[in-house]
Amino acid sequence: MFLYRTKRTLKLGIKSLWLHRLRSTLTALGIIFGVASVIAMLAIGEGASRDAMAQIARLGSLNIIVKTVQPPEDQHATGQQQSLQEYGLTYDDAERFRNSIPGVQVIVPVRRVAHQAWYRNRKIPVEVIGTVPWHLETSPIRLVMGRFLSNYDMDYKQDICVIDERVMNELFKFDDPRGQFIKIGSDYYSVVGIVSPQPIAVSSEQQKAKDAEASKKQAGANAGNVYIPLTTVKNRFGEMSVKISGQSGANVEKVELQEIIVKVANADLVLPTRDILQTVLERFHKKTDYELTVPLELLEQAKRTQRIFSIVLGSIAAISLLVGGIGIMNIMLATVSERTREIGIRRALGARKKDIIFQFLSETLLLTFAGGILGIFFGCTIPFFVTHFGNMPTVITAMSLLLSFGISGAVGIAFGMYPAYRAANMDPIESLRHE
């Protein structure tokens, strides 16, 4: 019985909407755009957010990265000073971290040297990374071929290297690189393994700008990474580096380690460990020649930023839905007063107030649901084009579809209720007399 009534009422609703096709279409447009923009905005927001998360996660959320930076005072003084500058992280620091901090799982000291690598007559600039066998535990790169560095290599300062795929593609266009020798400086190193290239990490806008600058600098500077046992690097390249600057001539710097990556056992330990590291470093470094980066912190910051971003986008879209809803209410009010006489007739023929409410509400709901479905359709195509032409990642979540559809339904009920009530509460005698 109820179903039959519903069916008849909906049929009636479709009929009267069809009678005013243009009006119905224009009215539904508001909802279509509203729903489409909610979905599209959420998809773009979600896409950007996931992208940022993924990039930060690549840094390793359990890692704390301590980097050597040039202390600021010296940067001012470089003009005058020609003397040796000694700064940065040291092997002692790494040792101290290992001995004094609980909860630390892995410590990876890294020495980076920019150099050139030769294979036969090909030469490319590379970054030589002196590291330890357990480097892979803290890094997103993975082994593609062969093996990584071993303890044996460390202990005996072997002249071997692991190159990444970029270096492989540049140097060994057609040859199998394993077992071949590449020349860095004046020494030959045997290639024992290939790893995937280091992804460029982007965490926030600021970081992005920094990285863009850095990668511009590096674009000419290196084509990839070459991993060599830390002990070998120490032996072959030493710790000095000479910079020749135009005005002041030679400038010698002594840096032991460029980077120490500390990995802790679980996420709760990240921030306390960061504080301990800070304290330890403060005690042993007079100048602030180090920088602490905590990917987890960046991740959380990015999450907060993205949440605000999503809320802002969502609200803008929700406002457009609201406007659409007001449009629907406006039209329904006009429809009700246009059909006053019909309402009077129906009331005289036995329609109760709730029958009239149901009749008009069903029309509004039909409009909003049709608008909602079309809106979802458009809302799903917009992100597709954004991804395709705008080169931005987008993610349409089931949640956003449900949300926007639910909102459009709610808008239909909220803005359909008042006109329907008005229709139902008209005096039947008056409305029968209405022209």
Partner: protein
């Protein structure tokens, strides 16, 4: 199916369908109370054909609204088919209207978006009759008023007389206690008017109860019984047949 309110009194034993006991209706116009109907006593029995006459302003329309359960009396009692309808709420009045009153209006009042068949079905829909049942009945009624071949036409495609015949068919849909006609020929030419009156006569012959509100003497002549309203009271009443 909507439940009708319980019957309070069984007037139907002696065939009384409609009973007014000192029925009053007044409107408040600012500080002045306008008495439109003053203590009307009236009994209509099953099978009556009653014409309500009277000049304009005599309270005819108000009486029509009260009989049709579109309005409530200010005072007095109104029993329709044994139900005391003077105290019912809006939903119950709607149910009574749909079930027991068949309206025929001066201006036909068909729903323009619906075709003949669908218009006849409207009261049955609100009484919760099944689709199949109501379709069959609507077709029967359309044939009875001579429109069996036009059931899929819209009201705008019909003449006035035809539209009024659809309205009569619609009023019969739920087999009501009373068919209440308000100037049924007022908007029609004389030929169509005669057709309508013939149909009403036919319904009277079939034993339906009819109340026609009119100011036209000729129409009133068709009825079995006439009452004349004047200044909110029943001035005269007599039987024609």
């Amino acid at each position: 199916m909507d439940k009708l309110p319980a019957r309070n009194l069984d007037f139907t034993a002696d065939g009384s369908i409609l009973v007014f006991e000192k029925l009053c209706k007044s409107y408040q116009l600012g500080a002045v109370e306008l008495k439109v109907l003053r203590e009307i006593d009236l009994v209509v029995k099953k099978g009556d054909y009653l014409a309500v006459m009277g000049p304009s302003g005599s309270g005819k329309s108000t009486l029509l609204n009260l009989i049709g359960c579109l309005d409530r009396p200010s005072n007095g009692k109104y029993y329709l088919g044994g139900h005391d309808v003077s105290t019912l709420d809006d939903n119950e009045l709607s149910a009574i209207r749909g079930r027991h009153i068949g309206f025929v209006f001066q201006s036909f009042n068909l729903i323009s978006q619906l075709n003949v068949l669908e218009n006849i079905e409207v009261p049955m829909f609100y009484q919760g009759m099944s689709e199949h049942q109501s379709k069959v009945r609507a077709r029967e009624l359309a044939e009875m008023v001579g429109l069996g071949d036009r059931v899929h036409h819209r009201p705008s495609e019909l003449s006035g007389g035809q539209q009024q015949r659809v309205a009569i068919a619609r009023s019969l849909a739920n087999d009501p206690l009373i068919i209440l006609a308000d100037e049924p020929t007022g908007n029609l030419d004389s030929q169509s008017g005669r057709d309508i009156l013939n149909i009403l006569d036919m319904l009277y012959q079939q034993g339906k109860t009819l109340i026609v509100i009119t100011h036209d003497e000729d129409i009133a002549k068709h009825s079995q019984r006439e009452i004349r309203l004047f200044d909110g009271r029943i001035d005269k009443q007599w039987y024609n047949r």
